[in-house]
């Protein structure tokens, strides 16, 4: 049984989310973009668990479980798509995917 400031937990979650956002915005490789999306999902889950801990209710943890299942499904489909992209283009550079341009 301990107590600490709730703002700190939310600030940590916000920092992690912004780090993931920076990763999505600045990276060029699809693998790194998927990793950064995982960071963002994880930080959202952290905020949910913190909110659940504030009222000592299990709902935050239940929402984290849903986020976890969603992340697993997203990663499997995303990696399959990346595999197809790699087979078609022999690269993981997002600049290489420009068939829709012309």
């Amino acid at each position: 049984m301990s107590s600490f400031n709730g703002e700190i937990v939310l600030i940590v979650a916000a920092i992690l989310f912004v780090l993931g956002l920076i990763g999505v915005l600045t990276r060029k490789n699809i693998i790194f973009i998927l990793l950064s999306v995982e960071i963002m999902l994880n930080s959202a889950g952290l905020a949910f668990v913190a909110a659940g801990a504030k009222w000592q209710q299990p709902d935050g943890q239940v929402m984290f479980l849903f986020i976890l299942a969603m992340a697993a499904a997203e990663v499997s489909v995303g990696l399959a798509l990346v595999l197809q992209i790699y087979h078609q283009h022999k690269t993981l550079d997002v600049d290489g995917l420009k068939e829709l341009r012309d």
Partner: protein
């Protein structure tokens, strides 16, 4: 418990910074595993042991191992790191990072300006989570089952190779008619 929280959140932030600054994919993945383990410690200090265990097993275990197998299968190595290194010049990442950090500063300011929230942590154990999950959230559990099913079927369908794709070593030599030689010889000696 409070000290545990501060240390592990510091480790999580540091490891996440390392994730988004590494050039080599495997290094970034291993730092991400460290970050997820640190977040699991944060969950433990917040009084959520079940979620902490799931974070270690599913996130740091299953999903990250999936990524690692994927990188090993695609043989992403030093040329990917070199490409990332060429791309990640300061003029590329400074702009988005600064703007995102401005937004982060606004969020932090709003959080600190609000009324003081004190979290009294008491352990919410797996029993309460399970009773809630299979009680009021049972529809969500079934929809999650649908989602996972759709994910499996979608991944199996997309990952299926529809047209015949040669390996890149074979494809280079296909036009010159040396494919048989390529198959006989190990690919490293051909190129």
């Amino acid at each position: 418990m409070s000290l545990l929280f501060y240390i592990s959140s510091f480790v999580a932030i540091l490891a996440t910074v390392m994730v988004i600054t590494r050039y080599h994919p495997i290094h970034a993945l291993l730092y991400l595993v460290v970050s997820l383990l640190a977040v699991a410690m944060v969950f433990l200090s917040l009084g959520a042991p079940f979620v902490a265990v799931l974070e270690v097993i599913i996130y740091a275990g299953a999903i990250m191992v999936l990524f690692i197998f994927f990188i090993m299968m695609l043989n992403l190595g030093s040329e990917t790191a070199q490409q990332e290194k060429n791309w990640l010049q300061p003029r590329v990442w400074v702009g988005p990072s600064l703007l995102s950090l401005v937004l982060l500063g606004e969020v932090v300011m709003l959080l600190l300006k609000g009324q003081n929230i004190v979290i009294q942590t008491s352990v919410v154990d797996a029993r309460k989570v399970a009773l809630s999950l299979y009680g009021e959230y049972i529809v969500g559990v079934e929809l999650t089952g649908f989602l996972l099913m759709a994910g499996i079927v979608g991944a199996a369908h997309i990952g299926k190779q529809k047209k015949r794709n040669l390996h890149r070593f074979l494809q280079e030599n296909e036009n010159t008619g040396t494919t048989i030689k390529t198959i006989i010889c190990p690919p490293s000696t051909v190129k």
